[in-house]
Structures are given as C-alpha cells and as structure tokens.
Amino acid sequence: MIRTRGGRLRPAWAYGVAVAFLAAATLVSALVGAADLNPLDTVAALVHLPSGLDQLDRAVLFQIRLPRIVVGMMVGGLLSVAGAGYQGVFRNPLVDSGMLGASSGAGLGATLAIVYLGSAGPAAVPVAAFAGSLAGVAIAYLSGAVGGSGTATLLLAGVAVGLFLTAVQTYILQRSAQDLQQVYSWLLGSLSGATWQQAAEILPYAAVSVTVVLLHGRHLDVLSVGDEEARALGLHPGRVRLVVVAACALAAASAVAVSGLIGFVGIVVPHVVRRLAGPSYRLVLPLSLLAGAGFLVLADTLARTVVSPAELPIGVVTALIGSPVFIWILRSTAAVRT
C-alpha cells in the first residue's frame, strides 16, 4: 500500500514523509538552543498562546532562532533543488549544486569583497558572492556549451573554470593573509547571524528559480534517455539545459549569498530521495526541496548545540553526515546496477 512493487514509496506517502521530516526538524530546532528556552513555553509562544517566556526570551525566539530556522530551510531547499536539477541536466549522480563554477565563483566574489572593500566588505559579501556565483556559471556555460556536444564538455568546462577561480582566490588570499580567517570562516558556511531581512532579500530569487526548476521536472525525465532520443521526442536538449542550468545557478547563488558554501546537501539529498521515491524528476525535485530544507535545519541544530556556545561550521556537519550517507548510497546503488 505504502510501497509499490518496485520498492518505491508511492508519491503521496513520499510527500507525507518529506513534510513530516521537515516539520519535525523545524520543531526540534525551535526547541533547542544555547539560550535554554523552556520547551513548553516555546511551543506556546509559537502558536500565539500565552506563554511563560519573558521579553528577552521571546526576542531570542522570534528574532534569533526563528529567522535562522527559516533561512536554513530556504538554503537547504535551494541547494537540494539546484543539485537535483544539475544531476538531471547532466545525467550524472555525482553532480553538486556548486558545479559549473558556482561555488568557486561565490568564493572568489566573497574574497574580493573582504580583501578589497575594507570596511564595506562584510556588508557587500552577499551581493559579491551572489554575483560571483552567477558569473562562474556563466563563464563555464559559455566555455563548455559547444553546440550539440552534449554534457561532457560542459561538465569539464565547469571543472576547469572552478579550478581556475579557486586558484585566483588562493592567490589573492596569499597576498593578504590578514583576511584569511574572515574568508575561510565564510567559506565554511554558517547560518549564524541569519535575519528575517536576509530571508526577505533572497525570497524573490528563490521563488523564481525554484518555480522554473520544478516546472522542468518532466523535461529532465525526457532528457534521461539521452540527447538524441530526447530530440527525436521533440525536446530541445540544449535549450532545456540552458534554462535549467540558469535556474539552478540562481537558486544556488541565492543560497550561497546568505550562508556561504555548504557542501554535500546538493548531492546527498536528491540521492536519498531517489532511493525512496524513484528516479522521476517530477517527484525528485519537489521532494528534494522539502527534504533538503529539513536536512539543513537538522544539521544547523546540531551545529549550534553540540559544542555550545561555540558552533561547528555547518559545512563540517553536512560533510560529516553527508560523507557516510554518500558512500552508503554509492555502495548500495552499485550493487543493484547489474
């Protein structure tokens, strides 16, 4: 009933599981934190019932913790959808949301802002990272999207552009070592300092990019039979790739702008979703959005409680969880693929 004969979850159940996971992660995250808010009072305050939280506690809950959870949901969802979208475009399960120079472009943008903009640097970092991320993907796309040559060239161009941009960033940092700590702490990714304003700022980009990607789920399914057969079915593979890559780049850039570089979310979440619900992108994309949001909220909860009051960089937490999960996926899918 819940599973099909092939072992997949039926769509309705898959959505149910994803939503439940997200809800649970959000609730847990809202209840724990360094400020030790009383759980019952917290729940009461969240549903606008009279609660025992004093004014400072309420401010902590609504101004510090909640925006962090919401931004975490957005970033997790964006990175997962972008990763899933790229995996569909490239028909390659090892692709991450940072591909095609998106991560390295963002890193270089942030580095340039921190090193050369002095006091205006920290405020300019999100915009610089956003612009850098998009520029990285644009350069990779222009270099690699040789007409009709398929995806391998594009991927390789992305790798080359990524390495180049990272090298430039390293060079700049070497010349200005006093900015090292600031840049690397941004590179490691963090949701601390998340605000409602950040959420509002990335919302339009997030909404547009996610909508566009979700609308192309069916197209990615058609692309899964290869460029030639897809064309014979009436699709324009190059055009679909361009649209989806652009939307995924926008989604990833929006996420990176507020949170820095957080790896593994874009690879791991879509794979877990696929294992549970099957390979059709019409399901994988929206489920990745939900599951990715929950995953990052969970990771952030761990990041800010395990060594409280210090925080683990969230990129460390996602990698620590992500690596074993990833290896497990590789091993189990290799076994099945006979």
Partner: protein, 271 residues
Amino acid sequence: MNAITIDGLTVDLDRVRILHAVSCAVSPGGWLALIGPNGAGKTTLLRAVAGLLPYRGAIVLDGADLGALRGRGRARLIAYVPQIPVLPPDLTVQEYVLLGRTPHLGYLGSPGRTDQQRAAEASQRLDVARFAGRRLASLSGGERQRVVLARALAQDPRVLLLDEPTSQLDIGHQQQVLELVDDLRRSRGVTVVSTLHDLTQASQYAGHLVLLSDGRVQAAGPPPAVLTQDLIARVYAARVTVTADPAGHPVVTPQRPPPAPPATSAPPGAS
C-alpha cells in the same frame, strides 16, 4: 501518392560525405527496408529523416516538406527507435512508455488522461502492459525491445523509423518483433522505414528495398529485383545463392567458398 519521398539527400559529417544525393520513396503504410554493408549510410539516412542531422535535399512527408518542421511538430509525425536505445535502469515501464507522449504535450504541460490511455494502449499492443510497474533494468532483451516499440507507438506517429530493430534478439524474438511491426503497419497504416541486416528477413517483411553502398543507392525496388546473386556479390563481396520461399520471397543463403586444394605432401598416416 508516396508517404515519404526522399529527394537528393546529401549528408556530411565531420567534413566527410556520408550520403550522396540519395533518393527513394515509400508508399503510405508500406515498409521500406534499407540494406547494405556496414558503413553504407543506412543509420545516417534514418537519422536525417528523424531530423537529428543537418542535411541538404528534400524529405517530403505526405506532401509537406519536413525541413520546415522542428521539434514537437516533427516528433508527432515521426517516431525514431535507435539501434541501442537508452533505457534508464530505474525507470518503470509505465513511466518510460509515457515518455512517448512528449510531443503531444505543451511545453509546461503534463500527461493527461488521454495520454495515459494512449500509453496504456500502446503497452497492451506490445504485450508489455503486465510489466507496467517493473524497472527497465529487470526486463529481458526481448521485453525491452517491445517496451521501446511501445514508447514509439505511444507517440501515435505516421512514420516509424527503426534502426536494426532485431539485432539484439534471438531468432524467436526477432520474428515476434517483426510480426508486431507488420501488424501495426497493416492495422494502423503506419509507414515503416527500417534498416535490417538480415537480407531474408528484409525480403519477407519489406515491400520495398533500397540497397545502399558508400552513401549511394545501388538498387531500389521490390525484393526480387534487388536481392540478386550478382548484386549481392558486387556490393557485399559475399557469395550467396538466392532462392524463393513458398510465398515468393527471395531467400538469401550464404555459400561457403569451396575448400582450398589439399597440400602437396600427404599428411602423416594417410594412404
């Protein structure tokens, strides 16, 4: 009137001319088989008709020049099945066959009830409906071939382009698939253009043969006219005898060359 007329088709790939002004035609509901040695340009011809290659010359379908049709328009008329289709292993048969409805959906559209119906009908027709929920990777070679045909059928095409539809199958499945295609042709009036490397099969199923070699038409016509001993010897450099089966279709039988004369010294122990 001919369903498909190909006139002066010239295709260059990587600056090498693959097809030299090839012309041929097939009547509506007919079966045109492209035969010829390896590298003759048969697959290239099919791909040109499918719109997957740039070409010069004219391809006319039911009086309309296909060159003006792109993308979905073309895919609604022509279904192309490559020799080795890509079958995503984790997709189910149902999802895969449904992909055939792509040309009939709008850009942002999704499959509706009609589409589901057509896909289901196609699956029934090809006897793969009972595999609907199974993963493609779990099917046998013959079952997969039928699934791919089902997808092509779900496109509701007027023309079916098949590239070596039997090359991966055993003799029993080969017959099964060819019978199915012939049945489709007769019951729905679908025009079939296929490449076939088995000359006898080509003569049994196709009403019209085109023999290609080095990108040029060497002969065209009904099977008895094309499948002659001399022509085959010249084009294929093969020794064959051509007889006829009870229905009159040419049967091409390969002949082994006579054994070489014995060596001058007798083998040890021989008298």
